[in-house]
Symmetry: C2
Subunit: 350 residues, 2 copies
């Protein structure tokens, strides 16, 4: 074939980019020397190196990443898979990941695994990722046990964020104890009719977080010998709207709760709005605590559990980079701190 004529010529103006060979010719050296010189490898005379740099500069040479990838097997790119790009938590984590990857010279590929099908297609088979990325950050996406083996064998480095999936490094928060802390806060305020708005996507995503927060909720109640009315548990979808609907349901129960723990701030805020629509005042009539410390939580006066979202992403990326550099699994597991932020949405019962 030869020259796959860089098609898609914009009105035929496509300038032919310089190759390593052009640089070699211009500098009067071999391509090997150019390669070494430009990549800062040893065994290049200083004078030669600067001559090569000069030539590369003149020709505006840019190495073709695809050729490098093909030759080295390193993509210098990492992939991040999230259930939902538009979600607040995920966007913050993504920002954190990007912030450490870009300076390290890695490209960031984003994959959304919103639907079970996407997830299946994406996670069920390690191979597609193989030459595309050097590593993968899985955010709140559990790898089904069956798929772990193939992934490990595939040679793609993975780290998980939000939940731990051995043997991969991970960065998590202690969702269970943080949730318990949130609920204890309510209990300490004298509340006994405490409701839960959780999120039930475990099935779809092998998503452990909702279950853990739910468990923390029950832990706190159990410590005091309390339990929750079945009708005081509603399931949302991590959205404002679903939180509103959940609260609507809670307020329609025979004994409405005096306090509510929502597994995310989005849902907590939906719940607050529902309360308002029902003519109730927060925290006078009902106390509400959320989880995340969303950008807008403070403006809402929402009591919540803060988690360092951006740092979580950054840490995940750093772990991945470390693993890549080590060339072997590091087995690191970072557990990031959480903090109860007491604001105006909770108050002593009565």
């Amino acid at each position: 074939m030869t020259a796959p004529r860089r098609s898609r010529s914009r009105a035929g103006s496509t300038a032919p980019r310089a190759t390593i060979e052009d640089v070699a010719r211009q500098a009067g050296v071999s391509v090997a020397t150019v390669s070494r010189a430009l990549r800062g490898l040893p065994n290049v005379a200083a004078s030669t190196r600067s001559r090569v740099e000069r030539a590369a500069e003149d020709l505006r040479y840019r190495p073709d990443p695809n050729a490098s990838r093909l030759a080295t097997g390193q993509a210098h790119a990492i992939g991040v898979a999230v259930p939902n790009i538009g979600g607040w938590y995920f966007s913050q984590v993504l920002a954190g990941v990007e912030a450490v990857l870009a300076p390290a010279g890695f490209d960031l590929l984003v994959y959304a695994a919103a639907e079970p099908d996407d997830r299946r297609r994406f996670l069920g088979d390690a191979l597609p990722a193989r030459q595309r990325v050097d590593g993968l950050v899985l955010v709140d996406l559990g790898l089904p046990a069956d798929d772990v083996g193939p992934w490990v064998d595939s040679g793609v480095c993975v780290v998980t964020i939000g939940q731990r999936t051995d043997p991969f490094p991970s960065v998590t928060v202690d969702n269970r104890s943080a949730a318990a802390t949130a609920v204890r806060h309510l209990l300490n305020l004298g509340h006994r009719e405490v409701a839960l708005i959780d999120a039930g996507d475990e099935k779809r995503f092998h998503f452990a977080v909702p279950g853990l927060r739910q468990a923390g909720f029950h832990d706190a109640l159990a410590e005091r010998g309390l339990s929750v009315r079945p009708e005081h548990v509603e399931t949302g979808l991590f959205t404002v709207e679903s939180g509103r609907a959940a609260m609507d349901a809670l307020l329609a129960t025979s004994v409405p709760p005096t306090a509510v723990f929502a597994a995310s701030d989005e849902m907590a805020i939906g719940a607050m709005d529902s309360a308002r629509q029902h003519g109730l005042t927060v925290p006078h009539d009902v106390s509400i605590v959320g989880f995340d410390d969303h950008d807008m939580a403070a403006a809402w006066g929402l009591t919540t559990i803060r988690q360092p979202v951006v740092d979580i992403g950054g840490r995940g990326a750093a772990l991945l980079l470390a693993e890549l550099a080590a060339g072997a699994p590091t087995g690191d597991h970072a557990v990031m701190p959480t903090q109860l932020m007491v604001r105006r949405s909770t108050r002593r019962l009565g």
Copy 2:
């Protein structure tokens, strides 16, 4: 050299993936035929094709994208550059872009151009993008005039979102008239002391949006022969916190405004919280209108301008795909609709 031994072997378990040659051998045909068969090209006997498919399946063959890219010059990937990954607007646009790209089989590379340096490095030189992506979506990132030519020549397809930069296709909303609509709403309610919280990042990003919304604000006032007090214009950064600070300043002026137009919902919400902290009630003491229709705007009862954020991203991606397919600039410019959402944060003066 040969075999760049797919290093980073996970405990040496790295399974050697199948190449096109393996498939050819297994199917008893040549690699050329395998290539044709698997890509659905014509001139392959049906029986041959199925034999090849069988073999590929058996060997779990996955073509190496890097090799294809090198051979064809098509990356089957597109890049999206945003000023700020964690911003609500950008995360929604990103989600929209991903939703159309993924089904089309394109990888999505995300670049953050938060700092002027990043922007400069990224936009100032089209070449790095060249073999990495087939096209680029620039979200609210204006290309300095000097850089347009090189980009056009580089053969990378670009579309801009949020602002138009000829000759690239674009998707925008009419920020100026939408802002005027928002302010007219305030004026129609009898307000005369109307303040503006804008965002002044034009310099950093060649970012046209703030200026347009600002212009719309002035348009509406001018229609009524009104003008704004200089101290009634504050500049934020599209964040809740900066909106709060801006409102603090507005409320400290000698004649505090009775109404405020904020150039984004985040800032509007910060302003609402500031008003509350100052003991004021919205809309009783001050009316506030925002821009975006953020996920949480409805819960806040915030009157605002809705723009179809996800669709904007989707449309941008679609335009890019069309341009790629056409192999030539399409010159399409989509102007998406906006809508005034009247809620509880605005009311008649008095």
